[in-house]
Symmetry: none
Subunit: 125 residues, 4 copies
């Protein structure tokens, strides 16, 4: 189930993309599994169909899913896409770490914060 946080600064279409990626990483969605249709996910989440469409299309550009007109959208098989995504996530993490360090965050504090994030994950899933 994909939850939209309407208060978040993160664009809705990005939340949708992350939601799909999460379901993939959790194994809920397997390669070649069909995704909910654009309209179905839209009404399910309360998001406008155009916004869901945008999310799906960006996922397709990234090679995470593929869409066939008249048939639906499906999860791609390729592991390549995953690696690209992971690398992007690592890049963003490194950049955030560099900025935080520049703002005066000590190494110890940074490591502690990271540990806390993984701790909270362990509990929720």
């Amino acid at each position: 189930m994909i939850q939209i946080d309407w208060q978040s600064r993160v664009p809705v279409y990005e939340q949708l993309m992350q939601g799909i990626l999460r379901l993939k990483n959790l194994g809920v969605l397997a390669p070649d599994d069909q995704l909910p249709s654009v309209r179905a996910l839209a009404s399910q989440t309360g998001v406008n169909p155009n916004t869901v469409q945008k999310a799906y299309q960006m996922l397709e550009t990234k090679g995470i899913i593929y869409s066939v007109t008249g048939r639906g959208s499906f999860l791609s098989a390729g592991a390549d896409a995953d690696e690209t995504i992971l690398n992007e996530a690592k890049e963003r993490l490194a950049r955030a770490a560099r900025e935080a360090a520049q703002m005066g965050l000590s190494k110890a504090a940074a490591l502690e914060l990271l540990a806390a994030v993984y701790e909270e994950r362990g509990k929720s899933e």
Copy 2:
């Protein structure tokens, strides 16, 4: 010297704020030191004066700098003045870590990446 990355998604005014905080953390700027004038910093960085003005105003709101009419802007003394900024940086780091974890980054890999970031800092500055 403050460098603006024009291709970055980080707003220019935020880059300016971070730049000044960096100079502070590096000790280049000491409490009560005078900052460059809005115009000077603008022409130096190629940024629109309005944008520099906005950065200075936000720094002042946060208590990191203070301005004296007719004289200019100066660095505040308070050591904990930039707490909000630090908190924002931590927030961003935590979010990036959560996303990376969701994309499959292991805790060990995350810690290693963080260590590498601090390592590289130690060398360059």
Copy 3:
């Protein structure tokens, strides 16, 4: 055997049409030979019967096949029946060439690429 590429942007009904024309051009299907029934071809390829029906109807409109009620569909005799199809293919090829040229593909490189395509065909069939 007709293969459907489900990931292709080319509509399934068009792939079916091309597949039948290919069998004709290869001599696998001779004039007045009977084509597989809509149902047979559908289950064989995994395509929806409606879609096979559409392909057969368009082939009939173009005079490439003819159907006899109660008996089935047969390949037409006319050698130039598929002229429209050929023209469409030429049109697509010309458009692709124009676009490639615009993206900087030299004439020599284009001719070489074309030669390579025909070369590879000579070997495989």
Copy 4:
């Protein structure tokens, strides 16, 4: 100047993308040159701003341009992007050639068609 062919089956946003790429390849647009604003290009071509936005965003995804909120959109410097685009164009050309060959287009006819395309280009530009 970018012309939209409203009769064409090619989506408007793709025509816009091709138009920008053409201007780049012709040297009309140089690296770091500013593109017309979304709204300007929209009113100039009679296209809806959203559609122009879509074209710009896809060009940014492909690394052809970069956009900075509040400042505008600019042509990227990288030659990498060009190569990717060229390769895609070559792929499409090869696929079109294969299909045409399968439809019975002789090698001689294909080469002639290609020559004609380059001939017509020589005249118009």
